[in-house]
């Protein structure tokens, strides 16, 4: 089954004519993802390597039946693009764009929630992949393998590290999801955990967090109440000094809020097996399943 995307997912790429958008859309298509359309205002009627371009997402959805939008639009125009995809009736928006102002993210999330039922992944995320079925985003599919472990993470490259550790031990994945490290992410750990819990293919879950915010603590509460599948977790930033912004806008510790130790404690209390080193994730999952 996998979650959120599978072999039936049809993708419209916002910003397909840009360098990054084109590179990753074509890579996704080579993997087998149904990339059915691209958008670029004023370029409707053109095409990129056989993918038709439309002026708006509404046109693209009408003509191609696209149900998922992938956004590579620059930060200054990203909010409008995401709202447009929401209005066009997409089920899922995957916003890869990095560097969107927090106020735009907050407004965007609020408006989508008020006016639509669309799910938003990101912004500033690597997207998601259901190995063997579909890849929507920038994750390197070479390191994945179809299987039964669901992976969810706030960090891009650390997700790759975790997936790599699993695949090396011949443990496959159902879906790997990067929710992004920005202050106002669309989908949270909880949304993804809920989907993994319901998914028949997923038998165990890897959750990778990092310092800052309280998303991991909230996820821990959710896990203790609603998740029956085994969960392995790793939290990055144990040694990060307080008050410094470690790259991700989200990864900053203020006072005692959002420290790695608070998160580890909450997860451990929820029955999660928290490993202290990302290279131990594979082995920990192996022992659980």
């Amino acid at each position: 089954m996998a979650v959120f995307i599978d072999e039936h997912t049809k993708v419209v790429v916002q910003g397909l004519t840009g360098r990054e958008g084109k590179f990753h859309a074509l890579r996704n298509r080579d993997y087998g993802t149904k990339v059915v359309a691209g958008t670029r205002p004023g370029k409707g009627g053109e095409e990129v390597e056989g993918i038709p371009i439309f002026n708006t997402v509404i046109d693209a959805v009408k003509e191609t039946g696209a149900n998922t939008a992938m956004t590579f639009v620059p930060p200054a125009f990203a909010m409008e693009a995401v709202l447009e995809a929401g209005e066009a009736g997409c089920d899922l928006i995957v916003c890869i764009t990095e560097g969107i102002p927090a106020k735009d993210e907050a407004r965007m999330y609020d408006l989508l929630k008020r006016n639509t039922t669309v799910k938003l992944l990101g912004p500033n995320c690597p997207g998601l992949i259901s190995p063997g079925k579909s890849n929507v985003g920038i994750m390197p599919h070479e390191i994945t393998k179809e299987g039964n472990v669901g992976v969810v993470s706030r960090s891009g490259t650390l997700t790759y590290q975790a997936v790599h550790e699993l695949t090396r031990l011949q443990i496959g994945q159902s879906t790997c999801i990067g929710i992004g490290g920005d202050p106002v992410p669309g989908m949270s750990f909880i949304d993804v955990l809920e989907a993994f819990e319901k998914d028949e293919q997923t038998q165990a879950i890897v959750m990778i967090g990092e310092i800052g915010g309280s998303a991991e603590e909230e996820a821990a509460q959710y896990i203790s109440k609603f998740v029956s599948k085994p969960v392995v977790s790793y939290i990055a930033g144990v040694t990060a000094p307080p008050g410094k912004k470690m790259g991700h806008a989200g990864a900053i510790v203020s006072g005692n809020m959002g420290t790695a130790s608070a998160k580890i404690e909450a997860l451990t209390n929820a029955g999660v097996n928290v490993v202290n080193n990302p290279t131990k994730i594979g082995q920990a999952i192996k022992e659980l399943i």
Partner: protein, 377 residues
């Protein structure tokens, strides 16, 4: 990016938020004879650290002689490791009441949060802990905004002096406008005071969202005024996200999560990171070369670890960058390299053809961290 008090107040003025009349100085010579401030004056150290009052960084001057004494004693003073390099000199206010107000983003609610309290002028975390009923919290929908009724209700709920409700309403709305239109991560005023001159922001704590720099020219000016270590400045000009730390193992990686994790794994094996350096996604060879250059100029570094998991980033380009920075050079320290992901095979091949004798190739993140810690001792 956290602003100094004087910078925050500069922004307040742009939004017509009342602040005491003031001048900003870097040295005694900046203080001209004909400054038109009226005594008594408050001399305030400009440092980005809490508790400067208790540390002797804020003093009242009743006359010219006291003013000069305080300027001399506070300039250059060390407050919790922060050297005082500038001062804000303000007219002292006659305070009737002190309140607290802040605007920030509540990440778990995904809404803006306004906090208001009649217990201003003290540590707000203590208020939150000891008398939580005195701290009013209002969530604001980012798309609908803050309306007049919400402000009036908050003023009443927080038990502020209703004789000043119009003035309070006005300043609260202006602060909210600064928070939203000004793209601030935080706007905090403690104390927001009722003075004989009206409702005034006596202090400022403002943090800017640097993702919004493209729509705020003034952010650039503020950024230039904030001192950062030379190495961070150079790194930034090269597109690196670099933060100096106090250990000896230099760290270079791609992606904030992976770099943070590398810091942790180095610590697990008994080492301490000298820095955090993220080359970002899709880095070119030059970026890697620049990262190594930054570390070469850091005296404390005794070994270096490059940990790359290629996604957008291509390991062959990283390898080219390493070769460019090390080929034919006598390296000061062992350089441990771990390459995985996109084009790692090609990357390792490039390295093995141009191997500097100080370079150690590691197959896994764990082994790499161990080798780097060993090499640092």
């Amino acid at each position: 990016m956290n602003l100094f008090e004087y910078q925050g107040k500069d922004l307040y003025k742009k939004y017509s938020i009342n602040t005491p009349k003031s001048i900003y100085i870097n040295s005694m010579s900046d203080l001209t004879e004909n400054h038109d401030l009226n005594f008594p004056l408050v001399v305030k150290a400009q440092v980005q650290v809490g508790g400067r009052g208790k540390a002797g960084g804020i003093k009242l001057a009743k006359n010219k002689q006291e003013l000069e004494e305080h300027i001399n004693s506070i300039l250059g003073m060390d407050i919790k490791g922060h050297k005082v390099q500038s001062l804000l000199i303000e007219e002292a206010s006659e305070i009737l009441s002190e309140y607290y107000i802040s605007f920030t983003l509540d990440r778990s609610e995904k809404k803006y949060l306004m906090m208001l309290s009649s217990k201003g002028g003290m540590d707000i975390e203590e208020v939150a802990e000891n008398s939580p009923e005195d701290l009013i919290k209002i969530h604001i929908s980012p798309s609908l905004g803050l309306d007049s009724n919400m402000i009036n209700q908050a003023i009443k709920d927080a038990k502020l002096n209703l004789d000043y409700i119009d003035e309070l309403h006005e300043i609260i709305y202006k602060l909210y406008t600064l928070f939203t239109e000004g793209d601030c991560d935080l706007v905090e005023v403690n104390p927001l005071a009722i003075t004989k001159q009206g409702v005034t922001a006596l202090d400022s704590k403002v943090s800017l969202d640097m993702n919004a720099i493209y729509r705020h020219e003034e952010f650039i000016k503020y950024e230039e005024e904030i001192p950062i270590p030379e190495s961070e400045k150079f790194a930034k000009s090269k597109g690196l996200n670099f933060i100096k730390l106090d250990g000896s193992v230099g760290i270079i990686g791609n992606g904030a999560g992976l770099v943070m994790s590398t810091l942790d794994v180095v610590a697990e094996h008994g080492g301490k990171a000298a820095n955090f350096c993220d080359i970002g996604g899709g880095a070119k060879a030059e970026t890697v070369t620049a990262a190594l250059e930054v570390l070469e100029s850091e005296k404390e570094v005794t070994s270096v670890l490059i940990n790359i998991f290629g996604g957008i980033t291509r390991c062959d380009l990283v390898a080219e960058g390493i070769v460019e920075a090390t080929n034919g050079k006598e390296l000061k320290w062992p350089l441990v390299v771990r390459l995985d992901g996109t084009n790692s095979k090609e990357g390792l091949e490039i390295l093995s053809k141009n191997l500097n004798e100080k370079i150690i190739i590691s197959e896994s993140m764990d082994d790499a961290a161990k080798a780097a810690v060993k090499g640092s001792k």
